[in-house]
Symmetry: C2
Subunit: 455 residues, 2 copies
């Protein structure tokens, strides 16, 4: 059954690629309002293809923004798992156009790569799921699992409508796990599965001192300088080892298991790579954790911006009336972004001297996410990669956040499997591309995954 689906996929490669090209030709740029008709066109195109391959109840559902395309196949029985498959059909703008070697919406193959805007992010990766389903349904008439597909058109503008859509459609979207192909693997010969993402708590500190900027000659020495008070607070946020000193900050951090640490050590991430990417010689941070662990598995506290007083050229002798900083914390399971915001605010207020006024403001927050590497989904995903790639994937974590993953986990209790097939494909840049071999292997991986989930 698995084999026949794989053979069908292989036999239909050219047709699948032609179809992907059709989709890539639609300039469904979500950041530019003049492309609204293209957004609609891409949604309709997808819905038509989903109906054609045999998905049921396919709909183009309006939201306050761009439509969500939905489809399902739920005939595998109630014992079979239900997987919620996510992707996005909108793309980044193509500017600057003059840097593209071939036009962004006229897909071409060069050197084994599909060149087009959206080839990797995310049309090419998203499309593997529809083609995997087509391959199985065409040969077997049924899928081994239940699937619900949800493709949004606002990912590149921050998915403003998707969170409310998920909350409003919890029952419709109910699933045991989610499956997302919108990312990258470590290397062409090193498939990888991201099993955890960091969350975020983003804060701002504002320190107010004198009622107006003061002449430092006339008042210097008698006024607690707000910029200095701010520096004193920021300096107190870490100890000398780079640990965050906010009381209670680490209380809910799920310790790294030995299995996880062993898995992370297999991820090729070298000091040299870090040095090249950052331009720095020497890393910083918690000494008892590896570089990759610091970046992905440990919570952090970062100054994202700082300001106050005179920033121009030359000199101006002023005591600023105000100084401020944007400070965000990356969170790991099971830290709670709201609780961390409270702990941060409480600590900063406890540090605040009575010579200035300190205000702590909360900006955005997001939950961390994790799908344990020993879960059935992760084990199936690892086997699927190994089958399609010929080599076992490494398990890794990412330091950033993907809000939809936390939303699926939090609202639907559907932990995510991040099954990426991309590389460093110039996503968001000119000459975006996607390896043709990865498009095909992606389809194979998904087919394997469906079957392995029920083995």
């Amino acid at each position: 059954m698995l084999q026949s689906a794989l053979e069908y996929a292989r036999a239909n490669r050219e047709r699948y690629l032609d179809q992907l090209f059709d989709l890539l030709r639609i300039p469904s740029v979500s950041t530019l309002s003049e492309h609204k008709p293209d957004i609609q066109r891409a949604a309709e195109w997808l819905a038509a293809d989903m109906r054609r391959v045999g998905l049921k109840n396919v709909e183009v559902l309006p939201t306050d923004g761009n439509p969500v395309v939905y489809g399902e196949w739920l005939e595998a029985g109630s014992d079979a798992p239900t997987v919620l498959i996510y992707g996005h059909y909108d793309v980044q703008p193509a500017d600057p156009l003059e840097l593209w070697e071939t036009p962004p919406f006229e897909p071409q193959i060069r050197d084994g790569e599909i060149y087009a805007r959206g080839a990797s992010d995310d049309k090419g990766q998203m499309f593997t799921h529809i083609k995997a389903i087509e391959s199985i349904l065409a040969t077997e008439g049924r899928l081994p699992i239940n699937v619900k597909l949800i493709f949004e058109g606002e990912e590149e503008v921050g998915s403003p409508s998707l969170g409310p859509f998920v909350v409003a459609n919890k029952e419709k979207l109910a699933a045991d796990s989610s499956l997302i192909s919108d990312g990258r693997i470590v290397g062409p010969d090193c498939p990888s599965i991201v099993y955890a993402l960091r969350g975020l708590t983003y804060m701002e500190i504002r320190i107010r001192g004198p009622k107006r900027d003061l002449h430092s000659g006339g008042y210097g020495g008698s006024v607690h300088n707000p910029a200095q008070a701010l520096a004193e607070i920021i300096a107190a946020l870490h100890d000398e080892q780079g640990r965050v000193t906010i009381p209670g900050f680490y209380d809910r951090v799920r310790p790294l298991s030995e299995e996880e640490r062993a898995a992370l050590r297999k991820v090729p991430y070298s000091l040299e790579q870090w040095q090249e990417e950052t331009g720095l010689e020497k890393p910083w941070g918690e000494p008892e954790y590896t570089l990759l662990e610091r970046i992905t598995a440990r919570p952090t506290c970062e100054v994202n911006g700082i300001w106050g007083g005179f920033q121009g050229e030359g000199s101006k002798t002023v005591i600023p009336a105000e100084a401020g900083a944007k400070i965000s914390m990356r969170l790991v399971p099971d830290q709670d972004p709201d609780e961390i915001a409270r702990l941060f605010a409480g600590y900063v207020e406890s540090l605040a001297p009575d010579t200035v006024t300190v205000e702590v403001i909360k900006h955005v927050g997001g939950w961390p996410a994790i799908t344990p590497i020993d879960s059935p989904e992760m084990r199936a995903a690892a086997r699927a990669y190994e089958a399609a790639w010929g080599v076992a994937p490494v398990f890794t974590r990412e330091g950033g956040s993907i809000p939809i993953v936390a939303t699926f986990q939090k609202e639907l209790n559907a932990p995510a499997v991040l099954m990426g097939f991309g590389l460093d494909d110039n996503v968001h840049s000119p000459n975006e591309h996607f390896r043709l071999a990865h498009f095909y292997r992606g389809i194979d991986t998904v087919i394997h995954y469906y079957y392995y989930l029920v083995e």
Copy 2:
């Protein structure tokens, strides 16, 4: 002799005022190039009046900018002291014109005040010196001391030509002390003499981290955040008592004598005044010094500006590639601005972690100045104020700098007597004014001073 000069001054008050009005009518605004002819006219007017009163070798001397008006009377003999009298004939612009109750260059008396741009800053105060000299020469035919007068036309644009002029004319300007009336006294019933000014060393710190702004998700926890490194350095510049921690910073600070501290305690400067001016409840700084001492007699280290990373609205999760701060130190005698710059740079470099690159840049600097309160000049000035005002002046210090004072002290070894007659006269603002009584008392004070200097 003193009495007859005072009587002459009294008898000629109206004429002196008329002459001042003539000078005030010349809109010698140095910040606006269209007033160049007025600058020249004011200089010529001054020179003519100086010649008329009997000053010798009066010249309008060209500089790279606006001319310096020079005059002298050196016939008091080599035993008599030589005083270098400084003032400036240029004024601030009058904008916004609509806020003036009467036109800025049409002087008027209202409620005992002379209203005009330059009335207090500095034409009215400067003119007291010419009229004091006129009063003495008219009655005695000679002065008790030697005088050299130097009036510049670029004070309101930062005196760019005066420093080079002084350096180029050291012999011509050689004097035992200088005398400057371009400031204010504490109150109409509380004359005051500023006997010390703070100097300045203005620095900049730039911290460079990664080669570009990094995503805090992708690198946070492994990179020493430049804004945090900067905060750590700034926080280390003071101890918990507000003392500057730069090694050697206080080494050359001349201790406050008990006499000075007693004199400063007589200056009316209250916590309430400080609170009203700053809008703050609670002062900060070295606990063993009074507010006024902290502001005027102690060196400081101030953050004048700080910046780095994202300063816009909302949130952006970036690790800034760079952060920086402008930091200046107010200096007191006998701190050396260049040495302090070296000490600062050395300390900051010693604090700099090897995970970032720290650059320390030196901006402007200026020497502190002091004329001891027990010097003959200060004693004569105090007696002169007491004679003219009916009340002994208080001795005070200022927290800011007047570059020309340091220049006279450093280049000519001529310590300054700052004999101000102004109040809070809306200088630099609409409706600048100068008390008529202070114009007359100023002339009386100067006459007294000349005689007391040789008593």
